[in-house]
Structures are given as structure tokens and as C-alpha cells.
């Protein structure tokens, strides 16, 4: 008699004598039961926790590397358990896939059941009404009471069935419709997320002021495509970084040095032949290019340096990307000169936009804008390891095996340069000139063709959820008794208005009588 039981499957106890088909049905019944859904939901919540405790390859690859270095014994074991790839791991995936199988197995019969219910009359009035959550009985000699109730209930938009001795009425079918919409839309979200992951791409590119980027595979610093991604679909647009402006607070005392805005002024050419259009990219406000969105994800300084050997031949000249290390943009840059004569050498360099001196004598930066900039350099000679074909990170220098000839404990002080200065390098390595200062922007170029679908299904799920949770589903019964009539009501999830409705019906009766 419960409204609940007609949508919950498999909760009933079955007899143990089963054939193979019976077993299959029993297992299916278990999987699609509400209790299983509940347990799987809770299991999913628990399974998601380790991914927030351990660094994940997808969101924090450097963290994973650091974890391996700090825990060389446990890390490989954890890695075998896919603890650094929790959200794509076999165990996490099996939980949510099982949940969605259960969901499908649940939604299909419910949809059919609901479809039938929508087209059939309300159920027969149960024999005994006394034990319903809302109930009242009144003596009455009035004629046409049942017809009156039926009429009132119809006006309250109940669906009504009248027999000689009773009225059965039901309302709020849209609750179940909403519920089904919600659950079906979740399946839609999952499928769209899956397809989106396979067809999308995400690429990164660092642009120094004045540089431009063409949208093809060679244009990216790094590129991660989904398994079904076809690089031929990349539209050949072109983005040039004209100017990068970072604004920091200088006026509010408590806030000095806080970034107020980052603006990348770019020109976009949608095709190689179209005219450039000036545009601006800010954090939170990406640029929409054909077939990709361009996001501003980072920025920093790129001092323009020129290295000459002792005969004055240029061995390197151009802007060097320095990675910010703190909020005041103390930045670290690496320059490798494998072709330098007489020895190859590498430079580990710091940039301080506003130089300041710590108590220890070391430099630091006191403010993020270039008020009084300084570059310092540590120089290492030796085999840089670039000739053996093993790709190496351009942003780091493996100093192991190299000989430090400037800075640190080398006996020679680290080189320091002001803007425009030229300094002699040690050991006849030549000179270095700091010619100019540019800024750079780190851009993310991403596209996920399923994104609109994911959003659409999420919105549908939300509409379904509100509809189902906020629509009361009620049944009201009336029956003639020997002395008068009785009324009863029930609802899915308890409903404080239920008794009130019955009383309204009685009141409606009296209004008529007058």
C-alpha cells in the first residue's frame, strides 16, 4: 500500500530455490535495488577521498614526482594501486560504472511503470483507510457527498476515479517524471563526459610579447589530445601577444603588491589570410577563437639577454623565460649554451623585479613590478648532456657533473647585471649583456566539443531534481460509511499539508450546503 514500494525494486526477499535464469534475475534485482544504489553512492564518496590526500597525475604531476622522491619505498606500491590516478583507476571506474548500470536497470522499469501509471486511472480505494497518515471520519446525512469531493479534487487538479461507494484521487505524477528526468540526465552527463574526454584537447603555449602562435601541433609547447582527437580539426588561427600588462596595488597600504589585473593584449587572425583583430585575454575571460578557447593561466618576466664569446661572436640572443618563485616575482631562469666556445656552459639565473637585500646578504624581490630590476647569474661549465638526444627540461639545469665557476662556493661571486649592462663571464667564456625586459603570458588552448552537452544535461538534471523534490505526490481517498463518510490521504515522503487538504474538503462541503 505504500507509494514507495511501487518504485523500489528488489528489496523483497526471494525464495532461495533458483535456476540459472532465476539467479541471473536475482543478481539483477540486487544490482538494481535501491539499497545497492545507496551503498554504491556511499562507496563512491569514500573512494574519492584518497585522490584528495595524494597528489594526482592529472592535476599535480610535479606533486607526484615529489612524492616519489620523498617516499621511494611506498610510492611504487601506491602507484600499482593506481593511487596517483584515482579518478581514472580501475576501482574508481568500476564503482561508478556499476552505479550507472544499476541506475539504468532502475530507470528502465520505472519509466515503463510510470508510463502506464500516467495513462491509467488512480488505484482502487483500499479497504481500510483508518491507518493512513491522514484520516478523518464524519457523520453526515447529506446527499451527493462523494460527487462533491470528486468535483473539489478535480478542481485541485487531482486525477479522480469515482465508484458507487468511494473516490480515489491522485496528484503529482510530475514528481516521478522529474525524478526520471533527473536520473536519465545523469546518464547523459556521464556519456557526454566520456565522449568529451576522448574528443577534446588541451595545449599550452608560452608567448613573449611580440611572439605569435599558429594553431597547429608544432605551435604548442605541450599538447594532450583525447584518444579520438584528430589534429586535422585544428583551425589555423594565429594569435600574437602584442603587450602584457600586469597591474599591482601601490595605493592601499594593507594590499601593496597584490595583483589587481592581468591583461594580455593580443591580435587574433581567424585564418592565415584574415585581418588581425585586437582583443584582450584576462583571467576568467578567455578569448574564443575558431574551434578553441584561449585562457590566460600565468605570466612572468622574460629578460632579453645576449651572450658573446671572447671574439665577440653571438652564441645566444633573445628573451629568456623566467619562472616566478614567489608573489613578488623573484624568478628563476635557465640558459644553456651547448655551442659556446671554448666550453659549453649553462647559467642558472635569478631575476628580481625590485631588488632588495635580505639580512643574510642574499637578494630578494620587494615588489612585483620592475621598479629596480636586477639579474644575477651562476655559471656552470661541463657537458650539458644535450648532444645525446635525450630530451631535457628547458626550465631546469642538471648541475650534477658540472663545475660551478661563478656564484655559490666557486670562489667567484655570482654575476649581477642591471638593465643595459654588459658583464664579463669567468674563464674566458665571453660576455653577457642584458638588453631589455619583456613580459610573457602562459596560455592554455583548450577545446571540448561535448561541453555544451554536459551543461545541457546538467541543467536538465537540475530541473528534474527540483521538480521531483518540490512536487508533492498525494493520494486522497473518500468512502461512504454507514453513518457518513471517511477521508484518508497519503503522500510520498511525509507531507505536512495532508491533513489540511482533508479538512479543506470537508469545509468545501459546508460551503456548498449554504
Amino acid at each position: 500500500m505504500s507509494l514507495r514500494s511501487d518504485v523500489t525494486h528488489g528489496d523483497e526477499i526471494r525464495s532461495p530455490k533458483l535456476g540459472p535464469a532465476g539467479w541471473a534475475r536475482w543478481i539483477w534485482g540486487q544490482i538494481t535495488s535501491m539499497r545497492t544504489a545507496l551503498l554504491l553512492l556511499l562507496l563512491l564518496a569514500v573512494a574519492a577521498i584518497p585522490g584528495s590526500l595524494l597528489p594526482q597525475r592529472s592535476s599535480d604531476p610535479n606533486g607526484v614526482t615529489a612524492y616519489f622522491q620523498a617516499n621511494p619505498t611506498t610510492a611504487p606500491t601506491l602507484d600499482k594501486l593506481q593511487a596517483f590516478d584515482v579518478y581514472s583507476s580501475a576501482w574508481f571506474s568500476s564503482i561508478y560504472l556499476l552505479l550507472f548500470i544499476s541506475l539504468i536497470g532502475c530507470v528502465l522499469p520505472r519509466t515503463r511503470h510510470h508510463w502506464d501509471a500516467l495513462r491509467s486511472e488512480p488505484i482502487d480505494t483500499p479497504r481500510s483507510l483508518k491507518r493512513f497518515p491522514a484520516y478523518l471520519a464524519k457523520p453526515s446525512k447529506q446527499a451527493g457527498v462523494l460527487e462533491n469531493f470528486a468535483e473539489q479534487l478535480r478542481r485541485m487538479r487531482f486525477r479522480v476515479k469515482v465508484t458507487k461507494t468511494s473516490v480515489s484521487a491522485e496528484k503529482g505524477y510530475v514528481r516521478e517524471t522529474g525524478n526520471l528526468l533527473f536520473h536519465v540526465s545523469l546518464i547523459g552527463v556521464l556519456i557526454s563526459v566520456g565522449i568529451g574526454g576522448a574528443t577534446s584537447f588541451s595545449g599550452q603555449r608560452v608567448l613573449v610579447e611580440g611572439e605569435s602562435f599558429v594553431n597547429n601541433l608544432a605551435g604548442y609547447d605541450s599538447f594532450s589530445p583525447g584518444v579520438w582527437f584528430d589534429s586535422k580539426t585544428l583551425q589555423p588561427f594565429n594569435v600574437k601577444l602584442d603587450k602584457f600588462v600586469a597591474t599591482f596595488d601601490l595605493r592601499n597600504k594593507t594590499n601593496i603588491g597584490t595583483p589587481l589585473d592581468f591583461e594580455a593584449f593580443v591580435s587574433l587572425r581567424e585564418t592565415p589570410t584574415s585581418k588581425p583583430v585586437a582583443s584582450k585575454i584576462r583571467v576568467n575571460y578567455p578569448l574564443e577563437a575558431p574551434g578553441a578557447n584561449i585562457y590566460l593561466t600565468g605570466n612572468g618576466y622574460a629578460p632579453v639577454l645576449t651572450f658573446r664569446d671572447k671574439d665577440g661572436n653571438i652564441s645566444f640572443s633573445g628573451p629568456v623565460i623566467y619562472m616566478p618563485q614567489d608573489a613578488n616575482y623573484t624568478s628563476l631562469g635557465v640558459i644553456k649554451l651547448p655551442d659556446a666556445k671554448p666550453n659549453q656552459f649553462g647559467v642558472l639565473s635569478f631575476f628580481y623585479p625590485t631588488k632588495a637585500v635580505l639580512k643574510t646578504g642574499a637578494f630578494t624581490s620587494g615588489y612585483p613590478a620592475p621598479v629596480d630590476p636586477l639579474v644575477s647569474m651562476n655559471v656552470y661549465v661541463g657537458d650539458l648532456g644535450l648532444d645525446n638526444g635525450i630530451p631535457s627540461n628547458v626550465f631546469s639545469l642538471q648541475v650534477h657533473g658540472l663545475k660551478q665557476v661563478a656564484g655559490g662556493k666557486s670562489g667567484t661571486k655570482a654575476l649581477t647585471l642591471e638593465l643595459g649592462e654588459t658583464k664579463q663571464l669567468p674563464q674566458e667564456l665571453g660576455t653577457v649583456t642584458w638588453d631589455g625586459l619583456k613580459r610573457y603570458a602562459s596560455l592554455d588552448i583548450d577545446y571540448n566539443p561535448m561541453q555544451v552537452w554536459i551543461f545541457l544535461f546538467a541543467v536538465l538534471a537540475f530541473i528534474g531534481l527540483i521538480t521531483s523534490l518540490l512536487t508533492p505526490r498525494r493520494r486522497v481517498f473518500a468512502r461512504k460509511t454507514e453513518t457518513g463518510y471517511e477521508l484518508a490521504g497519503m503522500a510520498k515522503n511525509d507531507d505536512p499539508r495532508l491533513q489540511g487538504i482533508l479538512e479543506e474538503l470537508v469545509l468545501g462541503l459546508k460551503v456548498r450546503k449554504k
Binding site: S52, T258, D261
Partner: protein, 304 residues
């Protein structure tokens, strides 16, 4: 954004208002406790005076919430933006919303017994906010300069407030149904038992708790979807299993479990109440531990 003037003086006034609110909350808390003890007294005369006491407590609570609200508004004006961009601000705004919603629900008679819990919780949050989370007014970092800060966070605060009240009701429910306490004859527990006997019947507590959780779940679902939309704009992907995203998901899943529990035979009542508390514990964890100690993109506590 570029020429924002902060107003540190007004921020001091805001802090003073918050401290005043804390003092008045303390008084309100004590009067609510006093009221409960009167209500559960064996003397008829004492019981009769209870409603009057309740009215005084309500009046004090309203005074406290006015000061609290003034503190929140002044903080926003001092920063020239919405007052919920770091942990301190989120705490003072969030606790304000919790008390405000509770006051809106005051007309539901059965809810009034949790006044002690709600007032006490607000007091705790403000205490932690002023002593541990306080930071001076700052401008918004570029990643937070978006209207989504208004939409996403407002709804998250509201959801938290509803979950909070539901959790308080769940505590009341569990106390009320604490078997060992019911059976115990220890004199020390007699007072507790008398206090519990003035609580609304457990069915009512259960259904009220369900209602608040249900609204909370709708708001949380919105928070999650809005967060994904914002993440696409700010972080170039709608979902990346960032620690905060993970915990938002965990909380959502727990409460989805709760809603299924209320519809599953054998899982209603105490089990559902416990689930509701587990969900709220996850919310507190998400807000405190995850903000302070976990690495991720949502580093907006403003604390070093």
C-alpha cells in the same frame, strides 16, 4: 578593479560589530539554555514562565544578528565587493546566513528547540573566524574577479546553512532516540531526559531535518554545476578533480545517498540522521582542513 580604494578604518568598525555580535550571541545562548531548563522543570510555575523567557531570548538573538549583519555589510563596503572572498569573510557571512535562515524558520514551532545549537554554532564559527582566520581587507585576486563569485558562493553559503540546520535537527533526533538514555535511571541523567522530553516528537524532527537537507541538496547541486561553469572560465576546464572539487563531489554524493536512504526501507530514522551528520562533517572538513592544509587551486583562505 584597478582603482579600488580599500577602507581599513571601516574594517575596524566591522570587526567591532562582529565582536559585539559575539558578546550578544553569548547572552542569547545562555538565555536559550535557561529557557530549556525552565521548560523541562518539574514545577508548573517554572514551566509557565518559559514562553516569556523564550521571547526575550529571541529578542536578544535578533539584536545579535543585526550587529552581525552590520559587521558583514561594513566588511563588504570596506573592501568594495562581496564580503566572501577569503575564509574569514566566508565564515562571518556564512554564520550570518545560518542564523538568518533559522530566524526565518522560527514560525515552525518545532524548530525552536535547536536555537541553542544554532546560536552556539554561530558563536563557535565567529570565534574561529576572528582568532584564526582574520585577514585585513584585500582586493580580489584576478581569479576571483568574476560574477560567478556572487552566484556560486552565495548559493554555497545558503546550502551550507540549510545543511547546518538539518544537522542540528538530526542531533536532536538522535538524542531523543538514544535508547540507553531512555532506559537509564541514573539521577544525573534525569535532567537531560527532562530536557529531551520537551523536544518535538522524533517523527517531526526527522521530517524537518529531511526538508532542510532536501533544500540544501538542491542548492548544493546548483553550487556544483555553477562551480563547474566557473572553473571552465577561470581554469580552462570544467572539472579537474582539484581537492575542492573532490570534496564538493563527496559531499554531493553523501547527501544523494541520504536522499536514497530516506526512500529505502531499513535506512530511515537513525541511519539517515547519521548520514546527515556525516555529510555535515564533510562540509566542515571541506571548509577547514581542505582550505588550510590541502594543496589546490581553491587557495583563497588568504592565510599564509
Amino acid at each position: 578593479m584597478k582603482d579600488v580604494m580599500l577602507n581599513p578604518v571601516l574594517d575596524r568598525y566591522s570587526l567591532v560589530a562582529i565582536f559585539a555580535a559575539m558578546a550578544i550571541y553569548t547572552v542569547a545562548f545562555l538565555v536559550f539554555v535557561w529557557h530549556l531548563s525552565r521548560l523541562s522543570s518539574t514545577s508548573k510555575k517554572m514551566q509557565k514562565s518559559a514562553p516569556k523567557l523564550e521571547r526575550s531570548a529571541l529578542f536578544i538573538l535578533i539584536t545579535a544578528v543585526l550587529f552581525h549583519g552590520a559587521g558583514v555589510v561594513m566588511r563588504g563596503v570596506a573592501a568594495s565587493r562581496v564580503p566572501w572572498a577569503n575564509m574569514y569573510e566566508f565564515s562571518i557571512t556564512g554564520s550570518f546566513v545560518i542564523v538568518a535562515i533559522f530566524l526565518f524558520a522560527w514560525f515552525v514551532k518545532e524548530i525552536r528547540v535547536i536555537a541553542v545549537l544554532v546560536t552556539g554554532f554561530a558563536l563557535l564559527v565567529l570565534g574561529a573566524a576572528t582568532t584564526n582566520f582574520y585577514v585585513q581587507v584585500k582586493t580580489l585576486m584576478p581569479a576571483l574577479q568574476s560574477y560567478w563569485l556572487v552566484i556560486h558562493v552565495t548559493v554555497a553559503v545558503l546550502a551550507t546553512a540549510f545543511f547546518n540546520i538539518a544537522a542540528a535537527l538530526a542531533v536532536a533526533y538522535l538524542l531523543r532516540n538514544w535508547g540507553r538514555l531512555k532506559k537509564s535511571k541514573a539521577p544525573a541523567l534525569q535532567l537531560v531526559k527532562r530536557v529531551l522530553s520537551v523536544f518535538p516528537e522524533s517523527k517531526k524532527l526527522e521530517s524537518l531535518s529531511y526538508r532542510f537537507n532536501m533544500i540544501g541538496f538542491i542548492l548544493w547541486t546548483f553550487t556544483l554545476v555553477a562551480g563547474a561553469v566557473w572553473a571552465e572560465r577561470a581554469w580552462h576546464r570544467y572539472w579537474g578533480w582539484d581537492t575542492k572539487e573532490v570534496w564538493t563531489f563527496i559531499i554531493w554524493t553523501i547527501y544523494a545517498g541520504y536522499l536514497h536512504a530516506t526512500a529505502t526501507r531499513g535506512w530511515t530514522g537513525a541511519r539517515a540522521a547519521w548520514l546527515s551528520l556525516v555529510g555535515f562533517a564533510a562540509i566542515l572538513f571541506n571548509f577547514t582542513i581542505v582550505n588550510l592544509f590541502f594543496k589546490g587551486l581553491h587557495v583563497y583562505s588568504g592565510l599564509k
